[in-house]
């Protein structure tokens, strides 16, 4: 077990190195940061001096290496645009994104699994068919449109919920949380639904099809023949057997919830890392972009590791 985890961590490090390398190779095509940093009135000397001080005149392998050496020491560099340490900027913004991702992930999982089971068990019922039909909308509408629609209905027309921002936040340690104030919680509702709706329908459809498959299995027939109650059969025997594929997809989706919060954050003016990343691309803020990409890949790799460990926890056949 320990050697398995060690092996996975080693693989993860390799993945991170490659992601970083690809990212650095791509930055050269985004544009020249020096152009945006210096104004119209610049001389060749200014440009040379700035390049020298930022290390941009070195070959990109050397730049990458320098980045790695500093990164492992916890120094992610200084933002070109804001002139502040990147680590500090990200630490400021990250809680907003993580809280949004956590709430929408939870929303997607709870409702996805519940609806999935429901539509599988009541396969031909009216309610199940209605849910399945509505779920098509969730899959096919683009995220930004859902966001705008929700804002129009609940913020503009009904004025029930705020249309942008996080509401009041409270600092706990270095973490700014919206969970502790009423306005913070209320502000989470619309963005979480926007962000989680697609994932929810995906999980729901997956749980449903897996569940239908499992319900045909011999051990479910045998469980019935043993006289177990329907509730036990559905929620104990069938549900646990549907979990392995569901966890795989949910894990990947959780990663993309974090990575692709960008659109939702833009629509709702949510002060998270997604918005930070968009701004960084516009200003060719390489240290911020690099740090963001590495952060996202750390999360993806970490989630995948957890998913693999969950497999083993669920399925005894994998514990050999």
């Amino acid at each position: 077990m320990v050697s398995y985890i060690l092996k996975r961590i080693l693989q993860s490090v390799l993945v991170l190195l490659i992601v970083g390398l690809v990212a650095f190779a791509m930055f050269r095509f985004v544009g020249d940061p020096v152009d945006t940093m210096l104004g119209q009135e610049r001389t060749m000397q200014d440009i040379e001096r700035l390049r020298e001080s930022l290390g941009l005149n070195k070959p990109f392998f050397v730049q990458y290496w320098d980045f790695l050496v500093r990164a492992v020491q916890g120094d992610l560099g200084i933002s070109y645009r804001q002139g502040r340490p990147v680590a500090e900027i990200i630490a400021e913004r990250l809680p907003a994104t993580l809280e949004l991702a956590a709430v929408s992930g939870l929303f997607a999982m709870v409702f996805g699994i519940v609806f999935g089971i429901f539509t599988a068990i009541r396969r031909d019922g009216f309610a199940a068919n209605a849910i399945m039909t509505l779920s098509l909308i969730g899959v096919s509408l683009p995220t930004f449109l859902i966001g705008v629609l929700l804002i129009y209905v609940f913020a503009v027309e009904l004025s029930w919920l705020p249309s942008f921002g996080r509401g009041d936040v409270v600092q706990v340690g270095g973490w700014s949380t919206g969970f502790l104030t009423q306005s913070g919680l209320v502000a989470l509702i619309l963005p979480s639904i926007t962000l989680g709706l697609y994932q929810m329908t995906l999980i729901m459809r997956l749980v449903r099809s897996e569940m239908l498959e499992v319900m045909r299995a011999d051990y479910i027939r045998f469980a019935r023949a043993r006289g177990l109650k329907n509730r036990t059969i559905h929620f104990r025997h069938a549900l646990k057997n549907t979990l392995v594929p569901v966890i795989t997809v949910t894990g990947l989706q959780l990663g993309s919830i974090i990575a692709f919060a960008i659109i939702t954050e833009t629509v709702f003016q949510w002060p998270g890392v997604g918005l930070l990343f968009i701004n960084a691309i516009q200003f060719v803020d390489i240290p911020v972009m690099a740090a963001y990409l590495m952060l996202i890949s750390v999360m993806f790799v970490g989630i995948n590791l957890i998913v693999d460990l969950l497999y083993v926890a669920i399925d005894p056949r994998l514990r050999t």
Partner: protein
């Protein structure tokens, strides 16, 4: 008052177009302590009766008429809740496949305890104690320890014991066993049947034993009911029905059962209900390049062939673990003979077939064809050798590509080897399909339009397309009903007789091997323990393992010999 009475039971499956009647007017009674066999071929409605008694008919099936009474009370009209209370408590069921009957994600104890507590008012601790007792009862050693294990940690036979323990949780009065030993090896089968007999005798449980296997019926049951296409055709004491069958279907069914004690020239075909398909292998002989002069000389020589598989991977080669599937097997197959390989599952029979076919490279030793080493090359066996040998597989459903039309399936080997093309190829395909009894028009259809037996004929036609010298038949009839099996085996006999084909015939079914093979090799745990002439092997087995296998074989002495064509 009988324990279980089924009267005039009719089960229907209404579909949009028409209503399919799965069981029609069936009668059956079970007394305490009695084992009642329910026998018939697939589609006869045996399992449907079991499901109807349990209230577990698959949708849209329903009981359209008749009664099911348990201890005099009608249970066929009970609502879902009342039926669920009865299931597992008074009437239990055992299914065919022990590998899939248990939920893989829960320990044996968890599954036992939940079943016990669903029926009996016991505390968690008391239920656990009972779980251990049950595991001990069904003959699993170290019950204290094993009860905490997961299903995958048990062998097939042990799992079926666990399934039986689960069926016994609340001391049921009736057990319905649906093909309980079909997926098991003979030695395990004998143990499980003994356990069922013991339960019936000691605890006065009434058992309905659903099976297609006449050997199991003859050895185990007190009474037997024979079913054909949803209807009961004959019922009575087992010895009477098997020894003096009255109904023409029963007669032809019994005649088609391969006998372990008598060698037949040909299998009698089931003549009831028009299920026999004519075939004319002898007509193929006219265009077949046969050469009987070499008859009796070795065609295939397996010279100490060995196959090992990696069982536990590791980075360091020294820490890897290997499993030897076949250990230095040495035998020869002579031209024109059928060489049988028998043994239990996992003994290495199929691995040998695959090494000879060149599907697995050998890890040691060599295969020689007409004295020429065909396994020496780096890139597998040579093409000319592949053309000379063809295979017929066990599962007629997965061995034909469902997306290909039958004529392309049959044509593929000949086309691949560039033997024929164009009209000549089409003529060959049509001829083959016709000779195996399907007719040339079958080539325009897809595999799913055919039954299991017809698909196996397609496989045979495909194997003959390159006009091979040597056929490898890997359990060719294990998935088929006994009447269909008789027809396929007759085709194979004709191939040997009229086309002078040499065959390697793999089977776990000893009576079939006795009927088909000239010489037999016995496999045990990767070792070839004995090779002998078939008649010598069956009359005077030398190796203790062979003797053991033969002792487990159902004798079938009580079966009527009417209509047999003894060699």
């Amino acid at each position: 008052m009988s324990l279980l009475e089924i009267e005039n039971l009719t089960v229907e499956f209404p579909t949009r177009r028409k209503t399919f009647v799965a069981v029609k007017d069936a009668h059956l009674t079970v007394e305490p302590g009695q084992i009642h066999g329910l026998v018939g071929e697939s589609g006869a409605g045996k399992s449907t009766i079991g499901a109807a008694v349990m209230g577990l008919l698959e949708r849209p099936g329903r009981i359209a008429g008749g009664l099911i009474r348990f201890r005099g009370e009608e249970i066929s009209g009970l609502d879902a809740e009342a039926m669920q209370a009865l299931r597992g408590k008074k009437i239990s069921m055992i299914f065919q496949d022990p590998l899939t009957s248990l939920n893989p994600l829960f320990t044996v104890k968890q599954q036992l305890v939940e079943t016990i507590r669903a029926h009996l008012d016991l505390s968690e601790d008391a239920a656990e104690t009972r779980a251990v007792e049950l595991i001990e009862r069904v003959g699993i050693p170290n019950p204290q320890e094993r009860v905490n294990q997961y299903p995958h940690q048990f062998s097939g036979g042990m799992r079926q014991r666990v399934v039986i323990a689960l069926a016994l949780c609340s001391e049921p009065d009736v057990i319905i066993a649906d093909e309980p030993t079909t997926a098991l090896d003979v030695s395990i089968q004998a143990q499980i049947l003994d356990l069922i007999k013991e339960l019936a005798r000691e605890r006065q449980v009434g058992v309905i034993l659903i099976t297609h296997d006449m050997g199991v019926i003859a050895d185990t049951t007190d009474k037997v009911t024979v079913m054909y296409q949803g209807e009961v055709v004959e019922s009575g004491a087992t010895a009477d029905v098997l020894g003096r069958p009255q109904h023409p279907y029963t007669k032809s069914l019994i005649a088609a059962v391969p006998r372990p004690t008598i060698k037949l020239a040909r299998f009698p075909l089931i003549s009831y209900g028009g299920r026999v398909t004519e075939f004319h292998i002898e007509d193929l002989a006219r265009s077949w390049p046969t050469d009987a002069s070499e008859r009796g000389k070795p065609l295939i020589e397996a010279d100490g062939i060995t196959k090992t598989f990696l069982s536990k991977g590791a980075i360091l080669p020294s820490r890897r673990q290997y499993f030897t599937a076949v250990d230095q097997a040495r035998f020869e197959i002579r031209q024109g003979e059928v060489f049988g390989l028998v043994g239990e599952s996992g003994s290495g029979k199929s691995t040998i077939a695959r090494m000879i076919a060149g599907l697995y490279p050998v890890d040691g030793g060599a295969v020689r064809y007409r004295g020429q080493d065909v396994t020496a090359g780096k890139s597998g066996v040579p093409d000319w050798y592949r053309r000379e040998i063809q295979m017929i597989f066990q599962d007629p459903y997965s061995s034909l590509n469902p997306r290909m039309r039958v004529d392309s399936i049959v044509a593929e080997p000949a086309r691949h080897h560039g033997i024929l093309s164009g009209p000549a190829l089409k003529a060959r395909v049509d001829e083959l399909l016709d000779r195996v009894g399907l007719g040339a028009e079958a080539g325009l259809k897809y595999p799913h339009e055919f039954s299991g037996g017809q698909r196996q004929r397609i496989s045979i036609a495909r194997a003959l397309a390159t006009q091979p010298k040597f056929l490898i038949c890997d359990e060719p009839t294990s998935a088929l009903d006994v009447s269909i099996q008789a027809q396929i085996l007759n085709i194979l006999k004709d191939l040997q007789e009229h086309l002078n084909l040499t065959m390697l015939f793999i089977s776990h079914d000893l009576p079939v091997v006795r009927q088909m093979c000239d010489r037999v090799g016995v496999m045990k745990d990767g070792q070839l323990v004995e090779v002998a002439e078939t008649e010598t092997l069956f009359s005077a087995p030398q190796h203790p393992y062979t003797q053991h296998l033969l002792s487990l074989m159902p004798r079938l002495d009580g079966l009527s010999n009417e209509g047999l064509n003894v060699a």
